[in-house]
Amino acid sequence: MSIKRTLLGMAITAATLTALAASASAEELTIATVNNADMIIMQKLSPEWEQKTGNKLNWVVLEENVLRQRVTTDIATKGGSFDVVTIGAYETPIWGEKGWLNTLNDLGDGYDYPDIFEPVRNGLSVKDNLYAVPFYAESSFTFYRKDLFEKAGIEVGKDQITYDQFAEMVAKLHDPDNGIYGTCQRGKAGWGENMAFIGPMVNAFGGRWFDMDWQPQLTSEPWKKAINYYVDLLTQYGPPGAPANGHNENRALFADGKCATWIDATSAAGYIYNPKDSRVADKTGFFQAPKEVTDKGTGWFWAWALAIPSSSTKVDAAKDFLKWATSKEYIAMVGEKEGWVAAPPGTRASTYANPKYQEAAPFADTVKNAILATNPADPTLEKVPYTGVQFVAIPEFQGIGNYVGQQISAALAGQQSVDQALENAQQFAVREMTKAGYIK
């Protein structure tokens, strides 16, 4: 008994010493991140952490698609180039399950796990193991221009409208001669671009990606209706160049006052409401993303999160950084230094309980409710074998989502019919699913 205790004591001392030694010797961490506004703020504020710990950060800031490809290549081949990576709600569960990421269950009591919204925590966990900590999280909702709605005499009610009602509104608002387009939506091909908007819309129309036997459903009636609606809406009331516009392009257009409506990420609200970046900060309102035959899965769920690849050799320092960058204190620091409207949204209940944030961000409650309302485990009208609202959490989805996105983008550009696009998409999806062994 006493021997055991001595041994235990020695072990603890040794562990503490190693921990001390680790924290004493400066580490150099390589961190890969996406060039979003929130991440650029993090980069700007990180010298604070560097000074506090004596560690050094090397930044690799890349555009989203390049980042995803770069990080996936490195992690899948266990290249070990990165100690901290920025990944999304799609990759985290897949990679976590494969053992490519370190678990993050032990960031300490001060980290306050229960403060993180439950859907966000669940979205980044596999079997109660957290594999990435959320930097910011988002659902989707409709941005609209209060001044233009007033001028056109359109009332915004409390209830969720349908896409048909939405189209009627947009028709009244469209005024290209004065540089106002009825609606701006994503047209740029990519599973994280146009398909992120189209996914929830198809859900609203009652569609789904796969049936319970993993048979692709892309030529089903709901898909046809939804995509025809989408193409008609954007060709009639969208800005020129819609097939090339992604989230960033639309955000710039909306901030520049060129769009009357825009259904997109709630996390963009901080930007749109920030008078430094946006000309419509005081003229923008918001309401839920529309429904159609169902209200299930009509708002997407996404989170950008930080994770530590299992190939990293500097796990302790990396964990310390993760803890710092996703803590309540960090959010408060952004609030103080950059203005509360720019604080990373969607992750912690404490942010939304903060009166300063509520005051600076009139959209706070709507965003919170939208995020809490998402349920990636049950996203569609009919049952599905997958999780994910605007994506399907299987490794093959990226390829399929990109291809389908390309086809729909081509239909939007007028290079082929919607039926043709969906026909091609369906064929491709069947091929890929057969190749991957889902369809026997």
């Binding site: 490809q69 996936t72 091909a189 257009l253 990226q398 990109n402 081509a410 696009a421």
Partner: protein, 290 residues
């Protein structure tokens, strides 16, 4: 004796380059060929298995494959046509006496130094963007509807961007060649009453033929693997309108992480490149007495 000696040392001197290039070519090539027969998805490690020809089957029957081949060849043809024809015209113009020729040369050569990524970004955003681009501003200024180049004529737009990068190269080589032309020969022909067109067709053009061959050869090497311009501007779309073979391989192996299919595509691309190379060699054989 001397020749024998020097032949041996020549072989010795050549060998580092040959060995290095062999290694550079053979090692990845062998790995690529090996991978192309595996079911190998980067996201599913440990599940690699031999699958025979199925990667090739899936790559060739990929709905984008035909478009990719056609696009690869039209890009090659289109850019070569624009740069050679444009290059000859520009060279003829720059060869004329004028003031400030040095400055004009500096302006004309500049695009050749610009990173492909940068030039694609600049054309896409500052010029072809249908809302804020220069072309859109000009169109609205003239009361016209802005034209959306990258979604309406995506492939032509990319051919244009790539041509802009290579036109200086062609122009300057052809100009140098033109300047080396014997002036007296031209003047004699003029005395004899040969029209300008005849002088161009029978004297200048034959003189330029070697330079044109060089332009074609060098550009072909780079044009077969155009990639950055597509990645930055259109991501291969809309649809498959701007997917070339290189981009299709990128999609397969680095966006879908299907290394097996991507490798099969790589092998096909190498075969295609070699066909073009043989074709070129025939041409070079005539024009360059290498």
């Amino acid at each position: 004796m001397a020749t024998l000696h020097s032949r041996a040392s020549a072989r010795l001197m050549l060998s580092p380059a040959v060995l290095l290039l062999l290694a550079w070519m053979i090692i990845p090539l062998c790995l690529t060929v090996y991978f192309s027969f595996l079911r190998y998805n980067l996201l599913m490690p440990g599940e690699e298995a031999f699958t025979g020809w199925s990667n090739y089957y899936f790559f060739i029957t990929d709905p984008s494959f035909k478009d990719a081949i056609i696009n690869t060849l039209t890009l090659l043809g289109g850019v070569l046509l624009i740069t050679v024809a444009g290059g000859i015209l520009f060279a003829l113009l720059l060869d004329q006496p004028m003031w400030g020729q040095g400055i004009v040369r500096i302006m004309v050569i500049a695009p050749f130094f610009v990173m492909p990524t940068v030039s694609a970004l600049v054309w896409k955003n500052m010029f072809m963007n249908p809302v804020n681009g220069v072309f859109a501003h000009i169109a609205t200024g003239l009361g016209l509807q802005p034209y959306d180049f990258l979604s309406q004529i995506p492939w032509a737009s990319i051919i244009w961007i790539v041509s802009w990068q290579w036109l200086p190269f062609a122009t300057l080589i052809l100009l140098t060649a033109l300047q080396s032309l014997d002036q007296e020969q031209l003047e004699a022909a003029e005395m004899d009453g040969a029209s300008w067109f005849n002088r161009f067709w029978f004297i200048m053009l034959p003189h330029l033929s070697r330079a044109i061959t060089v332009v074609i050869l060098i550009q072909t090497i780079f044009l077969l693997s155009v990639f950055a311009e597509i990645l930055v501007t259109t991501n291969g779309g809309p649809g498959t309108a701007t997917t070339n073979l290189t981009y299709l391989i990128y999609v397969q192996s680095l966006l879908q992480y299907d290394v097996g299919a991507g490798s099969a595509g790589g092998v096909i691309a190498i075969i295609l490149a070699n066909i073009v190379a043989i074709f070129l060699m025939r041409m070079i054989g005539k024009n360059l007495d290498a």
